[in-house]
Every structure is written in C-alpha cells, then in structure tokens.
C-alpha cells in the first residue's frame, strides 16, 4: 500500500546549528515518481533522510498518509521503515558475505516470524525479475549493476509502498545505469509505488513525474519532468 506525502514547515538543523533544510510545504500524491536534484551539499540527501525518518531533531511534520514521522520515537520510525519504506543507496550497501537472496531478504532476519516466508519469496521473485542469478556466490563477486539490482530487490522485499533512492545510478557506468533506470521505473510504476530519487542523472530525472530542485536547503523549483 502506498501513501501520500505531506511536508509542512519542515526544518532540519545540523548539530552545530546550521540550517540544512527548510521546506514550507510539499505534497506528493501516492504513486508519483519524484526526482530531486541540486548542487552537492544543497540538502538533497537531508531531504531524503528526513522522508525516511532517519533524522533526529527536525521540526515541522513529515506525513506519510496519517503517520507523522517527526512525531514518532526512533524505534517507531524504524518499525515504519521496515514496513513501508524501501531504501536504495548510491554504493549499494550490501553485506558482501551474503549471497543475492541473503541480501535481498535481509529483513527476514529481523521482521516477525510470520512475515519471513513472504519476504524471502518476494525477494526471490524480484531477483529473478531483475535477472540476478540466485546461486551460492556471495555478492562480493557481483558487478555494480548486479549489486544495485540486489539492493532494489531488497528495497522491494518488504512490499513497501515507498521507495527512497539516493543517487541509485551514480556508481554505475552508463549502460548499466540506463538498464537500471528502466527496471526501477518499471517496478515502481507496476507496483504503484511512491518513489523519491535524489540524482544528478538526467536520464533518471527525465523519467520522473516531477523534479524538485534543492539549493541551499530550500526547494527552489518544482517542475514537471518535461520542463526540467
């Protein structure tokens, strides 16, 4: 199940008191694909982490549906992430000692017993859909493209309605990046997911419904993809 996103008066301040992000209002209807771009250090990743409920000490509200992440304890946010959010990182962040399925179904180790079979089954089906071989090899031997596919399968294994991706193609060469964009967008659309992808990659941004531009911690533009 996917959820609408509503940010109100969101402000994130660094430990040293510097204002990192300041968003008056942002609304994203469920099922939209949103790109976020902007210069390095502008606050794109901070926005993404705020949406994931990974930041402490933010003010304002981050509503996914009826849930305000800003009002939850860290433990409750973790539970929300485990159920609702799939995360994809620039450098994949896989456990090199585990195989493709072990990584993709990582959540089975900490989710309740009743969910484990489903998680493993979904992880396996996404891996096969993404063309990643499920064998005895650990992911240490995989190419970058394969590794990011495993990460996508991991993000989808909990059947989350929300996908948050931080520079998903930045570590890949062009060909692999294009292939990955195809797969990611297709999976998000098919599953009716809400996706927020921070990226410099024009090819990825071009496939989004909307592209937000962040500069100096502020949303300076909110454009349809065609206009970007």
């Amino acid at each position: 199940m996917t959820l609408d996103l509503t940010l109100k008066a969101l402000a994130v301040t660094s430990d040293r008191g510097r204002r990192l992000l300041d968003v008056d209002r942002l609304e994203v209807p469920a099922g939209s694909l949103i790109g976020v771009r902007g210069p390095s250090g502008a606050g794109k990743s901070t926005l993404l982490y705020a949406l994931a409920g990974l930041l402490e000490g933010l003010t304002g509200s981050v509503h996914w549906g009826d849930t305000d992440l800003a009002a939850l304890t860290p433990g409750a946010r973790a539970v929300f992430r485990a159920r609702r959010i799939g995360l994809i990182f620039q450098d994949f962040l896989l456990f090199d000692e585990l195989g493709a399925l072990g990584n993709a179904s990582l959540a089975a180790q900490f989710r309740p017993r009743k969910d484990r079979t489903d998680i493993v089954a979904r992880a396996a089906s996404h891996l096969s859909r993404l063309g990643v071989p499920v064998d005895r090899r650990t992911v240490a031997t995989f190419s970058g493209g394969e590794r990011q596919r495993v990460a996508i399968a991991r993000a989808l294994a909990n059947d989350a309605g929300i996908l948050l991706a931080d520079e998903p193609t930045a570590s890949l060469h062009r060909e692999a990046a294009d292939q990955l964009i195809e797969d990611l967008v297709a999976l998000a659309r098919e599953g009716g997911k809400t996706m927020v992808a921070v990226s410099h990659d024009g090819a990825l941004l071009a496939r989004m419904d909307r592209v937000l531009t962040v500069e100096d911690g502020r949303l300076v533009s909110d454009a349809r993809a065609e206009a970007a």
Binding site: G75, F89, L93, F95, L98, A107, R116
Partner: protein
C-alpha cells in the same frame, strides 16, 4: 530452603551452581534473540573476520585452559599425594623433621635418618592397640629402585594383599613392586646407598631372589623391592633381630637385644581413635617422634594452597586481560561495522536486533573459546600429570571437576554480559552519520 539445599546430593548442588552461573548469559540470549533470526548475519561476520576470530578463540581457549589446568592439576597432585600416604596411618621415627621423615617413608626419597633401637621398637610393637608395627629399613637400592626391609604384614597391607607369586618365606627372598623391572624368579644383589652416594659392590655375595610381585598401588612404592627386614640387617653384617636360638625366624616378634635398629616404624592401630593416643604416647622427647603423614601433608597443602591462590589470581588476571582484549576487539569491530549497523537501522531493524547480532557474534567467540579452553585445560592437566607421575611415581590422575566448570561458566557469563557494552556504547550514534561513514 537451606535444608532443601543441604539435602541435595553434592553432584546436584554443583550442577545447580553451574546452571546458576549460566543463567545471566542465557537470559540475555533469550531476551535479545526472541523473535529475531540474526544467524545468517552472525555467521557472515564470523566468516568475514575468520582469522581474527580464530586468534580470539585461541587466546580465550589458552587463558581459560591455563586457569582450569592449574586448579585441576593442583587438586590431582593433592589427591595423588594423599592417596600415596593412605597406607601410612602413623609413622614413628627418631625425633627430627616430620617432613623429612614423610619424604623418606611415604615417598621413599633417600634421606639420612637416625635409627630407632630395639627398646623403642619393642615398646611400639607390644602396645595393646597396635595391630601392625612394621620396621622400614631403607638405604639399599638396586638400579635406582629402593630396596626396603620390612615385615610380611606390611607388604600385605601395602598391596591390599594382592601379591602375585608368593610371599617371602626366608631371608634372601623379595617381593617386587608393580613397576619394578625385576620379574619373579630374578636374582639381584643390592647396592649400598642410593643415587650419587651409591657404593656398588658393598654387598657383593648377597643374592636375593624375587618370589612375588605386588599389584600397583599408585605410589612410589611401586618401584621398590621389599625384602624381609632381616635380609637388610644381615646384608649389613648386623644381628638379624632374633636371638641365636631363634635365628631362622622371619618377621616379628623381634628380640630387643638383637634388634640393630630401624629408621622408621609404620604403625597401624586396631581402632581409628587409638591412633591419636598412640601418637601422643610415642612422641617422647629425645627418644621417638610419631606423626600422621596425612596431617603433615595437609599442612603442606595449606602452604601450597597459598601458592595456588596466588597462581589462581594470576590465571584470573590473565583471563581478565584476554577478556578485555576480546571486548576491545569487539569495540573496534563494531566501529568497523558502523556502516553496516547503520544500514540495518536504516532498513528498519530494531536496536535490539543490532545488539543481538553483535552479542551473538561475541558470545560465539567466547563460548567456543571457553569450551575449547576446557579441552586445553584437560590436555594440559593430562600432560602435566603424566610428567609428575613419571618423575615421582605418585599416580596423579587428570580430571576436570565441578569447580573448573564453574570457573568457565562464570567467565562466560561475565564476559558475555560485558560484550554488550561496546554495542550499547554506540547505540546513540546517528544512523545517517553511520551511513555516510
């Protein structure tokens, strides 16, 4: 409650104490692992750092093994020496050092000792509560094995009457100990003295035939050769303890006037209580001294106990240091794993799950090391026991007792609790900071 506890057999008490020691570790394990299944990750970490892990496990095993080996060995030594003294209820000698006389009689270590005369022996032997009064005449040897003159009833007492072949019937016959190189039927000539003070040929012409063999006793006496005390006296050109009219007699009674002297008398009383009366009776200024070898040994154990405590403390300190280094390793590792830990939190794992992963990993190392440590301790004890037995002929048997298991369980519980600290220390770290690390 106390009554119930005291009514339990000691094995059950020890088992309960063991369980009690393990309760904290088990409780933590249950609390952390309830509802999660972190084993793929744990085994992945174990595999990833397999060389460092092997080192950790080896360090723990060696330190634990040293600690319990020390305790077990000391207990084995005490049991072995006490067992060796078991047959020597009360020993009467000329006044001097009890310890010297203990070594001379029970452990057959060559010592220069004064002799007791016929009158002293007579007084002991004729006492109404004395069942056996056996003279022990040592000083001769055959190829480093002591040749000891005594009487038949002591030979039977010493071997629990398990003698192969037959008992001696006349002077010039001998009973060999179980480990003696002399077989039944062998004939030998004893040498005067022992070791470096040996005078070969002093007894040339004396020939003694081995007619029997004692069953093993687990004491230095297994190497000895027992002969009638008369044989020792005759070999030295002395009277043989009997009046000329009774010259062919072997064994008691002895004639005080023809009694050349004996360095020690082993006394066995007819009743246990009588031993104490006999001891005070036979302890006379300037004449005789009586002592319980068991008491002398336990005094020795008290001294040894202090040494043991010092050594136990050193072993504990070693274990503590190893545990500290393992914890430091875990701390470094959880820093190394900061990103992975942050990733787990980002993916929605609870902090309990992260704790469960790191704790399971640390506990796997500690438990493996401690278990192997039991094996190392057992092996060390077995090897040391064999060396001690070979050198002293006191049978020291290697065995692990409850206290060793308690020690290991206690070590495991304490360290496994401490192994939570490195992870707890980092629990408050920001997930995003970890992801960017």
């Amino acid at each position: 409650m106390r009554d119930i506890w005291l009514s339990l057999p000691s094995g059950a008490q020890d088992a309960l104490i063991l369980a009690l020691f393990l309760v904290p570790a088990l409780a933590i394990g249950v609390a952390l692992l309830r509802g999660v299944a972190p084993f793929p990750l744990v085994s992945a970490i174990l595999w990833r750092f397999r060389w460092a892990n092997t080192m950790f496990v080896a360090l723990i095993a060696i330190s634990v093994g040293m600690g319990i080996g020390l305790v077990a060995q000391e207990r084995g030594l005490r049991a072995g020496t006490a067992q060796a003294a078991d047959k020597f209820d009360l020993v009467v000698t000329a006044p001097g050092s009890e310890l010297t006389m203990l070594f001379a009689t029970v452990f057959l270590q060559p010592q220069d000792v004064p002799l007791l005369g016929g009158a002293a022996f007579e007084r002991v032997a004729s006492h109404e509560n004395v069942e056996i009064a056996a003279p022990l005449a040592f000083g001769d040897s055959y190829r480093s094995a002591p040749v000891v003159g005594t009487i038949e009833s002591f030979a039977r007492h010493l071997s629990d009457n398990r003698i192969e072949g037959r008992m001696w019937r006349s002077s010039g016959e001998a009973i060999a100990g179980a480990l003696s190189e002399l077989e039944i039927g062998a004939v030998f000539t004893p040498a005067h003295g022992h070791g470096s003070a040996l005078e070969e040929g002093a007894h040339a012409g004396t020939e003694i035939e081995v007619v029997g063999r004692m069953a093993p006793t687990g004491t230095p006496w297994d190497r000895s050769i027992l002969v009638p005390v008369e044989t020792v006296w005759e070999t030295h050109g002395l009277a043989n303890g009997h009046a000329p009219s009774d010259a062919g007699r072997i064994g008691p009674p002895f004639d005080p006037d023809h009694f050349p002297g004996t360095p020690a008398i082993v006394v066995r009383a007819d009743e246990l209580w009588a031993n104490y009366a006999l001891r005070s009776e036979f302890t006379r200024d300037g004449e005789t001294m009586a002592f319980f070898p068991g008491t002398v040994l336990s005094n020795l154990y008290i001294v040894m106990g202090d040494v043991r405590q010092a050594m136990s403390i050193m072993a504990l300190v070693t274990q503590g240091l190893v545990a500290a280094s393992v914890l430091l390793g875990l701390f470094i590792l959880s820093r190394l794993f900061r990103r992975q830990i942050a990733l787990l939190r980002a993916l929605g794992a609870s902090s309990r799950f992260v704790l469960a992963v790191m704790w399971s990993y640390g506990t796997a190392l500690l438990a493996t090391g401690a278990t192997l440590g039991l094996g190392v301790g057992y092996a060390a004890t077995a090897i040391l026991s064999r060396i001690v037995t070979e050198r002293t002929d006191i049978v020291v048997s290697a065995s692990l007792g409850w206290s060793e298991f308690h020690l290991v369980a206690g070590f495991l519980s304490v360290t496994t609790i401490l192994s939570l600290l490195p992870v707890l220390a980092q629990r408050r770290q920001s997930v995003v900071g970890g992801l960017r690390a």
